[in-house]
Assembly symmetry: C2
Homo-oligomer: 424 residues x 2
């Protein structure tokens, strides 16, 4: 191949793109049913916007993976690596927007990172956020929306929930110095992946006493709020989690569990944090994740006014992978009917015009190909119904309808084609 | 503003994005009704892919506006400036695809050009193409699809049609040297914009004799195929146009006209060319355009085999501008109903759960705001129906439904909310 797609990017032919479109339209439908409105931001962002959130001390791994480029006036820009910071910029720039503001954005993001299985340089995210209120009911509504997304896609999932304030209170309880806290949380985030022993090693390397590290990790094995409360006492994190669990009941959210060692690597979370995992799947990475981030927008706006936010980000590529595992056969074409003219091109075009007018997705052979090749073509695309328009049938004002799955054929009157197709 | 969107790019808030989504879903629906299947290619392309089509001699204006960037292994890439060349690459790389292949792609493209009214650095295109057949019926089907797109969007348009072979035959008739032909066609493309006198000047500068230039432009004022045929004789271009016009009749395409001076600047066209314009509009630039391009894909594939193609590209931003002119009021929210709890948060959540389950796009106040502020909020978003859930109504198993347009209120029984909303 002389011309290739860039490393870490992919072409999607109809077989995959039809499935991707189905996922995206399911997401859109659920988001809008929950009253979230669409927005769109550019793929390009100014370099200072791309880097703004890192000045707060967040790890700069993402920044190392920023694709940069210049415009004709040598302004440095980056390709967005997520949809969160562009949204924070938009809100900061548009104080006139009525709050609460419920928005979603679905789009591509880019990371100039190493390419491996399931990791691409160009991929899609779908972000849903509501800003302007600290009310925990909004956290619950986001999780209700997530539950419905996965129900609609027939994916069995479990939501793991924790609260960043609880983690901080636990570290406080064990008297972890302020400057170490973030580092400890980053390590805890890797607990499930690396195991207890490795994390204890990592924590002692980070200058935590071994017995403290052990005690903290022991506590984080307890996934029962009451027991944790009995050990470290009442606190903000526990209160918020209790409120959240009560609100989730009202929204009929069922498949969730409290998970005290869920940490999320990102330091901008300020309350609820959660990750959604597939149940009984070979895919072990999270399929959606999010939480409360009450501080970032104020930073972009440069105000002291609090602009609270809670949201979720769906990974469209991992959802796609999960659905592919469950799916046996993919549609290769959106066409429901294929019209094959046997010489009778005029009548065939009339028929396809009518089909399309009635909303039936229809294709037609306009290239004077033989009937056997046409049937092969319809078959290779998985089009299930074929209408054959030949002179003998037409004399009786009829056409032949062939079901490509069963192989059965029947003659239908011209004026009954649409009712017949809609019946099937 | 500390953080701005890059020059030539735009943020779309719900008011605009809802409208853009409507345009895109109209396009998708029509494309799929005509049997075209979706594909997706990366935003990034390798530099050699971006430049491949220019080696054939096409003007390199577009190339000067290419955004370039590097990956971590210093490979040079560009942001795609159109959807055509990436499609040609995909077809060249996937010879297994059954032909004819009918595809569409809707996505962003980028050009690092000067920014002026209506010209952006990031914008959207929607491309529809069918490859694998030279049959002129396919050209007609593309124009039928275009006609339906604009009907569905309530935009009055006229399609201007010409044929690149006819232009070449005319130049042949006047004995224009081969090496001058492309230059002359590029000048003719500007005729409508600059006027006859300026083009004659331009042509003489390009070393064409003045009397020849005048004769050519005189002929190009005739928009009647028969008269042109009587002057220059029968030829391939005229035959193809006659066939096309006959095929358009069969597809019920009406709003078109033959336009002998339509030239399209791009040299890769090989037959039919067309541009779609708005009628009675202040927008004078074309809103969609395309034609037959039978040679480019073979070049990408590096084969001598002909891989014919015909297609159209819709400019989503100019369509958006046209619709905005016609539209008085924009939806600021997709929500159909807004539920306002007066203390009764539990019952309100139950109601909104039910509404959403029944498919009604619903929002709810979860922030314990006052009723007057909530009504103001619903009003500012243009949500037309509000359900007020208060203790007095609930005692009688009722809620209040308020129509925000008329101001009228009525009491509805709890179990009749959905039927009442669907009735309205």
């Amino acid at each position: 191949m002389k011309y290739k797609a860039p490393k870490g990017t992919r072409d999607f032919l109809p077989e995959e793109k039809i499935l991707r479109n189905k996922i995206v339209s399911t997401l859109k439908n659920v988001f809008e049913k929950y009253g979230f409105n669409p927005i769109e931001t550019p793929a390009l962002e100014m370099y200072n916007t791309c880097t703004a959130k890192f000045s707060a001390g967040e790890g700069t791994d993402v920044l190392e993976e920023l694709f940069t480029l210049k415009d004709r006036a040598d302004r440095i820009m980056g390709l967005r690596y997520e949809l969160t910071f562009p949204f924070a910029r938009v809100i900061a720039n548009n104080p006139q927007i009525p709050k609460p503001f419920k928005k979603y954005q679905i789009g591509r993001v880019w990371r100039n990172g190493p390419v491996k299985l399931g990791r691409y340089r160009e991929f899609w995210q779908a972000d849903v956020d509501v800003i302007g209120s600290e009310n925990i009911y909004l956290d619950a509504e986001i999780l209700a929306l997530a539950q419905e997304v996965f129900q609609k896609l027939n994916l069995k999932t479990k939501i793991k929930i924790n609260n960043i304030n609880l983690l901080n209170e636990i570290l406080e309880f064990y008297e972890i110095p302020e400057k170490l806290k973030t580092q400890v949380i980053i390590s805890i985030d890797k607990l499930e992946k690396l195991g207890k022993q490795k994390i204890i090693k990592e924590l002692t390397k980070k200058k935590l006493q071994k017995d403290k590290a052990e005690k903290i990790l022991e506590l984080l094995e307890i996934n029962d709020l009451k027991i944790i409360e009995s050990k470290i006492g009442k606190n903000k994190g526990i209160d918020e989690l209790k409120e959240l669990f009560s609100a989730l009941k009202k929204f009929d959210v069922k498949n969730y569990e409290f998970c005290s060692n869920l940490a999320r690597g990102l330091i901008y979370y300020t309350g609820t944090i959660f990750e959604v995992y597939l149940e009984n799947s070979e895919i072990t990475s999270s399929i959606a994740a999010g939480g409360r981030w009450d501080n970032m927008i104020s930073k972009f706006a440069g105000t002291k006014e609090k602009i609270p936010a809670v949201g979720i980000s769906f990974g469209i590529d991992v959802m796609m992978d999960a659905i592919k595992i469950e799916t046996e056969k993919f549609d290769k074409s959106i066409a429901e009917v294929f019209v094959i003219p046997i010489k009778e091109i005029n009548e065939s075009i009339k028929i396809v015009n009518k089909l399309r007018k009635s909303g039936i997705k229809s294709d037609i052979d306009l290239t004077e190909t033989s009937i056997s090749k046409n049937l092969e073509y319809a078959n290779s695309l998985g089009i299930s119904k074929v209408i054959i328009v030949g002179p003998k049938d037409l004399e009786k004002n009829k056409v032949t309808l062939k079901n490509m799955k069963t192989g059965k054929e029947k003659k239908i009157e011209l004026n009954k084609i649409i009712s017949e197709l809609k019946k099937e």
